[in-house]
Symmetry: C2
Subunit: 227 residues, 2 copies
């Protein structure tokens, strides 16, 4: 029995997924080559095609590995809140907290690669490739519907169209923040030890998002007349 056989059955897949997560972020899906990925994973060049079938299938596997559990956990967080509320509508900040908290708990996990994935995800949301967009839309649809319904119950006076836009803005703020938080010079002034303190970031982000969600309605009517 060789030493090799002691490894977990799917260690090669895991090593490839971890390497892909890091390198897709650094170079993009097209820019990261299979040679880069397999070299970083310490596996043979042929291993990607053997285990995943193609580079495209690997991209999908990278996204699904963490997105499926993340969205499941986001929905579960909402389920728990609604159970506690026993029929009453939830507070908007509680809904936002359930969504944001799931993401922020991942970005603290640098060793497990969670931070890499969250940053990769922030870039993937704005990827113009049709296949990527279709996949992301499909993976997010159930969670988005659940959150939209919760917001609608929490803020019945907010017009549906406006809610959809504000969810879009909130989603954007979150994903940009997570994708850019250590790449942008703007926040270079903040204390380095605070930069990955998810608790602190969560408090700041939630305050910002709650205020944006509950902002006074823009005077759309006057804008329409002027146009």
């Amino acid at each position: 029995m060789s030493l090799r056989s002691v490894k977990p059955v799917h260690e090669t897949q895991t090593r490839i997924l971890d390497a892909a997560e890091a390198l897709f972020l650094l170079h993009g899906f097209e820019g990261a080559s299979m040679r880069m990925l397999t070299a970083r994973a310490g596996v043979n060049l042929a291993a990607i095609n053997y285990h995943f079938g193609s580079k495209d299938a690997l991209i999908e596997a990278v996204l699904r590995r963490r997105l499926d559990p993340m969205n499941t956990s986001r929905i579960a967080a909402l389920d728990r809140l609604e159970e506690q509320a026993a029929g009453r509508p939830l507070a908007p900040e509680a809904i936002i907290g359930a969504f944001v908290g799931t993401s922020l708990r991942m970005i603290e996990d640098a060793r497990g690669g969670g931070r890499n994935f969250i940053r990769l995800l922030g870039r993937t949301y704005t990827d113009p490739d049709k296949r990527i967009r279709a996949l992301i839309g499909q993976l997010y649809a159930p969670a988005m519907e659940r959150y939209k319904a919760a917001f609608t119950r929490a803020l019945p006076e907010l017009p549906g169209e406006e809610l959809v836009w504000r969810m879009h803005f909130m989603f954007g703020t979150l994903s940009y923040t997570l994708a850019a938080t250590d790449t942008v010079q703007l926040i270079a002034g903040c204390k380095p030890e605070d930069r990955y303190d998810a608790r602190l970031l969560e408090a700041r982000l939630t305050a910002f998002l709650v205020a944006g969600l509950m902002a006074p309605l823009p005077s759309v009517a006057s804008v329409r007349k002027a146009a």
Copy 2:
């Protein structure tokens, strides 16, 4: 005299820049090859190296062509506001409007390629490549300093650290919104003719951002104690 000589002197450069703007968005800086770019521009493969020196230099030229005038115009908008105010601090919504308006005027310009560029820019902000980050930071620094100073005067009671984070959030909301607005399924429900109505989007976005900027302070102290 050939028909060719009637063309503007630098039409080849312009054709390459336009093609690059579109294809860098679709495939990323690494994913778009020089063969793709020159084929789309209808010029020879060697033209990129002749006119720009290298692919990297082309990337920089694509970003500078529109970013330099955009930031100049953002600073000019702030100058005009401060001149009108004659020494009094500006209203936060006026400052936000000056910044956001410049971007939104570009996204209506589909024919001139402005929309492509704005979407490319949204993706570039989160690019992890060090050279790209350094370039973006350098191109934005003057405008950012001016806007930070204006916000500081408008909101003297907001702690500086909090302001920096909120500027980061606002910048993220704007760039994600502009990058993703026609790629994301979330807003598929809105009226198609409204989707690129910059006036309507500006009203919605400004309402969201102003509320976020002026949100009540998060209770950072209690968070710190708990951590």
